[in-house]
C-alpha cells in the first residue's frame, strides 16, 4: 500500500439513522496508509458510527467515503467481500461466535476467503500463541475472560493481514493493565505496516501515545494533525502469520 495515499477518505459525510437527527455533519478527513489514529469523544458522540462507516456496515446519508481509493457508493455488492477482507475489525462487544472455539473464531476470515485448512490452523495457532492464548486454543468464548475474548477478537481482526485495522473501544471491557497491553499490541501491528484506527472514550489511557486524534464533538470531526507514518519492525510470529 502506498503510504502517501489516503487509505480512508471522508468528504462532507453526513450520517443519520432513519429519520432521526444527523449524527455527523460535513465530516471530512483522511487516514494515510500506515497511520495510527485515535477516534476520541464522549460516549454517544458517534465514534462507533464513524467506525461502522469505515468497515462498510453502514452507508452515509450524504457525502463520499473512499476506502482504498474506491468510492464505496459505487462499489458493486459482489466486490464488497474483497474490500471487507482488507479491513480487520475489533468490535466493542467482540462479536465472537459462541459455539466456535478460539481457534475457529480467529480462523473465520481465512476460512471465508477459502484458505487451505492445514495452513490456516498453523497460522491461527501461532497467532493465538502470540496474543498469549496458546492454552485456550480450543476453548469456547464462554470459558474465556473478558481480556482473553478481547485478544481472540484482535487475533481474528489481524489474521487476514488487513491493510486497515479498526478497533472499537478495545480497552472498554478490561482493566487498565490489560487495556495498555492491548494498545501496545495494536501499536506493534501498526509498526509492521497495518493502518490502525482506534475509537475510545478513555483519553487518560491513550495520553501515553502520541498519535494524532480524530475528535468528535457536536456532530463534527476535528482532525488533530498529519500522520507521522510508522516504522516497520515485525515480531517473528506476526510476520509468519502474515505470510512474509
Amino acid at each position: 500500500m502506498d503510504r502517501k495515499k489516503d487509505i480512508v477518505r471522508f468528504q462532507n459525510v453526513g450520517m443519520r439513522y432513519g429519520l432521526g437527527p444527523e449524527v455527523f455533519h460535513d465530516v471530512s478527513f483522511g487516514v494515510k496508509a500506515g497511520a495510527f489514529r485515535f477516534v476520541v469523544g464522549p460516549s454517544g458522540a458517534g465514534k462507533s458510527t464513524l467506525l461502522k462507516l469505515m468497515y462498510l456496515a453502514h452507508r452515509p446519508s450524504r457525502g463520499l467515503i473512499h476506502m482504498f481509493g474506491h468510492d464505496t457508493a459505487t462499489v458493486a455488492r459482489k466486490n464488497m467481500p474483497a474490500m471487507r477482507r482488507r479491513i480487520g475489525v475489533v468490535f466493542q462487544d467482540f462479536r465472537l461466535i459462541d459455539h466456535l472455539s478460539a481457534l475457529d473464531n480467529v480462523a473465520l476470515p481465512l476460512r471465508v476467503a477459502g484458505a487451505n485448512e492445514q495452513q490456516l490452523r498453523e497460522h491461527v495457532a501461532e497467532l493465538l500463541r502470540w496474543v498469549g492464548l496458546e492454552n485456550e486454543i480450543h476453548s469456547l468464548p464462554s470459558r474465556l475472560s473478558g481480556g482473553q475474548q478481547q485478544r481472540v477478537a484482535i487475533a481474528r481482526a489481524v489474521i487476514g493481514r488487513p491493510d486497515l485495522l479498526l478497533a472499537d473501544e478495545p480497552a472498554g471491557n478490561v482493566d487498565d493493565a490489560i487495556a495498555m497491553r492491548i494498545l501496545y499490541l495494536l501499536e506493534e501491528l501498526n509498526k509492521i505496516g497495518t493502518t490502525v484506527v482506534i475509537a475510545t472514550h478513555n483519553e487518560a489511557l491513550i495520553s501515553r501515545f502520541k498519535f494524532p486524534q480524530l475528535r468528535i464533538k457536536d456532530g463534527r470531526v476535528l482532525d488533530s494533525g498529519a500522520d507521522p507514518g510508522a516504522s516497520i519492525t515485525a515480531p517473528s510470529a506476526v510476520a509468519k502469520a502474515r505470510g512474509s
Binding site: 468497515y55 462498510l56 456496515a57 452507508r59 455488492r77 459482489k78 464488497m80 467481500p81 474483497a82 471487507r84 477482507r85 475489525v89 462479536r95 461466535i97 459462541d98 459455539h99 466456535l100 475457529d104 473465520l108 476470515p109 476460512r111 471465508v112 476467503a113 481474528r156 487476514g160
Partner: protein
C-alpha cells in the same frame, strides 16, 4: 458434480449453529412424513398405470361373443348348442381370427360366481353361452361388419369388443393416477414451502452471525453453502427414514394384496425399476430442499445490503 464440490457441500463450514434451531428438528420429521406420503402416492400412481396397461394388453385383440338362450327346456338347450356350433364355424372361417374357444358352463359359472353366488349353477337362470375369440394383431377385422353378419346368421348373438367398459375403466384409473401424481406434486410444493420457512427462520435467528460473516468478508455463497448443507443433511435423514417406513408399508400391502388379487385386479407388487424410482424420491426431495435453501438464502441476502 466433482468430488471436491460434493465434499464441499457436505463439509461446508459450520460457522452458523443451524442445528440448534428449533425448526431444524421439525424439518426432519416433516420431510420424513412428506416422503412417506409422496412414496405411497407415487407407488399408487405406478400401480394404477400397471393395471391400466395390463388391461389394455389383456384385452387387446380379443372379442367375446355372447349367444343368448331362446325358450326353455331341453329343446332350447339343444338349440343353443347348435347355434354355438354354427357361430364357432362361422367365426373360425373369418379372416383375421386366429382362435375360437367356447367357454364351458363351469367356467361361465365361475366367472358369474362373484355376482350371483355359488347357487348360479343350480338356478335355472338363462345363462348365455360365451365364445372367446382371439384376433390376429395385424388382421384388421371390421368388428361392426362382423357383428352384423353374425347377428344375421344367428339371432340373439352379440359381440363385445370390451371397448366401452375398458375405456370407462381406463378413464377412471387415469383420473386416480392423475390425482395421485397431483398429490405428489402438492407434497413437493409443501416440502419447498417448509424449507423456505425454515431457512428464513434460520436467517432471522442468525442475523448477527451472518452480519459478522459478511463483515469479515464472506460472500453470499459461503453463507448459502452452510444453509444448503444443513438442508441436505436434514432432508436426507428425514427422506431416508420416510422411505424405509413407506417401503415397509408397501411390502406389507403387497403381502395382503397378494391374497386378495382376483380376476382383473392384479397383485399389489412393484417391479425392481419401480422400487428404484421410489428410492430416488428421498434423493430428489433432498436435492429440491438443498436448492430451495440456497435460492432462499441468496435472494434474502441480495435484499440485504
Amino acid at each position: 458434480m466433482t468430488g471436491g464440490r460434493f465434499r464441499k457441500m457436505f463439509m461446508a463450514g459450520r460457522d452458523l449453529p443451524l442445528g440448534r434451531d428449533p425448526s431444524s428438528r421439525f424439518l426432519v420429521w416433516i420431510i420424513g412424513f412428506m416422503v412417506i406420503l409422496g412414496t405411497l402416492a407415487l407407488a399408487s400412481a405406478m400401480l394404477l398405470a400397471d393395471v391400466g396397461r395390463g388391461w389394455r394388453v389383456e384385452l387387446a385383440g380379443k372379442l367375446t361373443v355372447q349367444i343368448m338362450p331362446e325358450g326353455e327346456g331341453d329343446a332350447a338347450a339343444a338349440s343353443l348348442d347348435l347355434r354355438v356350433r354354427m357361430a364357432e364355424r362361422f367365426l373360425a372361417g373369418q379372416p383375421g381370427i386366429v382362435r375360437v374357444e367356447t367357454l364351458s358352463d363351469d367356467r361361465i359359472a365361475m366367472l358369474l360366481e362373484p355376482w350371483l353366488g355359488p347357487r348360479s349353477r343350480e338356478d335355472a337362470l338363462p345363462i348365455p353361452k360365451l365364445i372367446d375369440v382371439e384376433l390376429d394383431p395385424g388382421g384388421n377385422v371390421d368388428i361392426p361388419d362382423l357383428t352384423r353378419r353374425l347377428a344375421e346368421l344367428i339371432p340373439g348373438s352379440a359381440i363385445d369388443d370390451h371397448g366401452v367398459w375398458l375405456t370407462r375403466l381406463l378413464t377412471l384409473t387415469g383420473a386416480i393416477e392423475t390425482a395421485a401424481l397431483s398429490i405428489l406434486g402438492l407434497i413437493l410444493l409443501a416440502a419447498i414451502a417448509t424449507v423456505v420457512f425454515t431457512t428464513r427462520a434460520g436467517l432471522a435467528i442468525h442475523e448477527k452471525e451472518i452480519e459478522l460473516l459478511h463483515l469479515v468478508g464472506a460472500e453470499d455463497h459461503y453463507i448459502a453453502h452452510q444453509f444448503q448443507a444443513h438442508a441436505l443433511t436434514l432432508s436426507l435423514k428425514g427422506g431416508i427414514a420416510g422411505m424405509i417406513v413407506a417401503a415397509v408399508a408397501l411390502t406389507a400391502l403387497g403381502f395382503i394384496g397378494e391374497g386378495a388379487a382376483i380376476g382383473m385386479i392384479p397383485p399389489f407388487t412393484l417391479s425392481v425399476w419401480q422400487w428404484l424410482v421410489l428410492a430416488a424420491l428421498p434423493l430428489a426431495t433432498s436435492l429440491i430442499a438443498t436448492s430451495t435453501a440456497r435460492l432462499t438464502v441468496m435472494r434474502s441476502l441480495a435484499r440485504m445490503s
